[in-house]
């Protein structure tokens, strides 16, 4: 269960302001694709358009096409809710639901949509999802405890378990480690490595070493100046991008000359 994403001529606007201009990119199934670039270059904004989460922000809209295995996310009659149940998302800061236990957090996607599920099925799903997020052994004795009692890294893995419990095709991650310590970061990176066997993973990161460690392909976004739109500068194999980029800007960025 994994699908590829093809983006054609995508522009993102906030009201009248053009935030991201003319992006064309093909994201492979069952791989990890990293978006890197300086702050404000539109990589997080662009990521949000891949599961229509930008629509939560008032005034945000897009032009162009995003194809999930050929189906346009922005086609007529497409329900953003259906899109999001196929393309999950993990956020910058861990955000487990404070009113729910660890178990209920994992089942949140199922329960909140009011799908009926027997207790046996639910138990299987909870264990499978937490196993998939490398969290099962740490929390199996306290599934009824509130999720907010876990450490930051555990909370973030709980959020990943919550995302994979709805069995999506693609998982988007918006700087998932930026609020975590190095040990927790390592655990998440290991997890991303395992996730790509089953899912298409797209990750936005500030950390170039992280992009180099976890991703198969890397896309570099840049911005010409404040008030100008962000653009996709270069996209290719991670190894090539870091060792032998074709664009001057990419080389400057990956070698730490700016950003």
């Amino acid at each position: 269960m994994s699908k590829r994403i093809d983006v054609k001529d995508l522009n993102v606007y906030y009201g009248k302001f053009l935030a991201v201009e003319d992006v064309n990119i093909n994201i492979e199934a069952k791989s990890v694709t990293a978006f890197i670039g300086p702050s404000g270059c539109g990589k997080s904004t662009f990521l949000r358009t891949l599961n229509r989460m930008h629509e939560v922000i008032p005034g945000a809209r897009v032009e162009g096409e995003v194809l999930l295995d050929g189906d346009n996310l922005y086609g007529p009659g497409v329900d953003p809710v259906t899109v999001r149940s196929q393309i999950g998302m993990v956020f910058q800061r861990p955000n487990p639901f404070p009113t729910m236990s660890i178990r209920d957090n994992v089942l949140a996607g199922v329960k909140l949509n009011n799908q009926k599920m027997s207790k046996g099925e639910a138990d299987v799903l909870v264990e499978r999802s937490l196993q998939g997020a490398n969290l099962w052994n740490e929390v199996k004795d306290r599934l009824a405890k509130p999720g907010s009692g876990l450490s930051g890294g555990q909370q973030q893995r709980l959020c990943i378990a919550r995302a994979i419990a709805v069995e999506p095709q693609v998982i988007l991650m918006d700087e998932p480690c930026s609020a975590l310590d190095p040990i927790s970061t390592l655990a998440i990176e290991d997890l991303i490595n395992e996730l790509k066997d089953q899912y298409t993973v797209v990750i936005v990161t500030h950390n170039m070493q992280q992009a180099a460690r976890v991703s198969n392909k890397t896309a570099f976004f840049n911005i010409a100046g404040t008030g100008k739109p962000g653009r996709l500068i270069e996209y290719g194999d991670t190894h090539t991008m870091f060792s032998n980029p074709t664009q001057k800007a990419t080389e400057d960025y990956v070698s730490g000359r700016f950003g």
Partner: protein, 310 residues
């Protein structure tokens, strides 16, 4: 996995979204309708009194000469309440925000909130049964020694049921409102300003004058205006405490009346045009308090732009 096309969606859920957002919108519009209805129905029911021939209105001289003495009475009572409550309320707010020990402050704030929780009819009963009796010797003293002032002209009421007593009871009732709003504002004073003043060697009072009061002034003014709005519309304290009568300048004789108390005392037994007259009086009160509240809100909103709080 299932390769569902993106266009197949659970229809029920989508309808749920529409129904729910429509329900919230309807609730919001209902509030607008209610407020519009308040104005509209008061107007409809007040209209007969406004166009009735003068001799049909109580007093026989038309609606205007019926309403203006009680408008003045309402203002007198509210002004007395403000004059007493404002300095005390600011003092209490400062005490809780800057003088009381930290640990005590929230508890003391709760004590003042208790004042706000006591129902108005209880204040009225207290004013009528306790305060009026206790305060009447003071009125005698005022009449004997300050009687040359029109507002303290004797003979003082023997029962103490005067507009001044009503004003004092009103001041007790609006005190917690002004206090709690002012306290909030004082607590929001930027710590940097306060510390800058203290670092210059200012005493606590100088720090308050330099940093806290200038910052809080618009907030305190609007708090006072909201208190004024409450004092204008308060019914029970006046209805139970004041032995009402014609408009008089002396505050320590019985006499005067407020709109709210006039309505409360007469509406239950009223019939015919008298009902319309009282509703028209209510409309006048509504317009006055609306004006006062709008000015208060305007001051607050203007302040918001300046404070840069967001």
């Amino acid at each position: 996995m299932t390769t569902t096309s993106l266009t197949t969606s659970r229809g029920a859920g989508r309808a749920g979204d529409k129904v729910f957002s429509a329900a919230t919108l309807a609730a919001g519009c209902l509030i607008l309708a209610v407020l519009f209805g308040v104005a509209l129905f008061l107007l409809i029911q007040a209209f007969p009194a406004l166009v009735a021939s003068p001799d049909e209105i109580q007093g026989g001289k038309g609606f205007f000469s019926y309403i203006w003495p009680i408008v003045i009475g309402t203002l007198i009572a509210a002004v007395i309440a403000l004059v007493i409550a404002t300095p005390v309320a600011i003092g209490v707010a400062l005490f809780i925000s800057h003088f009381a020990p930290r640990k005590l402050a929230s508890g003391l704030g709760y004590v003042i909130d208790l004042l706000a929780a006591i129902p108005s009819v209880v204040y009225g009963a207290w004013g009528a049964a306790f305060l009026a009796k206790e305060i009447s010797p003071a009125y005698n003293w005022l009449a004997n020694n300050m009687g040359w002032l029109p507002i303290f002209q004797g003979p003082a009421s023997a029962t103490g049921k005067t507009i001044l007593t009503a004003g004092i009871v009103l001041s007790v009732m609006i005190l917690p409102i002004i206090t709690s709003l002012s306290r909030e504002i004082f607590l929001q004073t930027p710590k940097l300003h306060e510390e800058a003043a203290l670092a210059l060697g200012a005493t606590r009072w100088e720090m308050i004058r330099m940093a806290v009061l200038p910052f809080g002034r618009p907030g305190v003014i609007s708090a006072v205006m909201l208190g004024l709005g409450r004092a204008l519309g308060e019914t029970m304290a006046v209805a139970l405490v004041l032995s009402s009568g014609a408009l008089t300048a002396s505050l320590i004789q019985s006499g005067n009346q407020t709109i709210a108390a006039e309505i409360a005392l007469n509406f239950p037994e009223a019939s015919g045009l008298k009902v319309n007259t009282l509703i028209a009086a209510g409309l006048v009160l509504f317009v006055i308090t609306l004006g006062v509240n709008m000015i208060a809100r305007w001051i607050i909103s203007r302040h918001k732009e300046f404070s840069g709080a967001n």
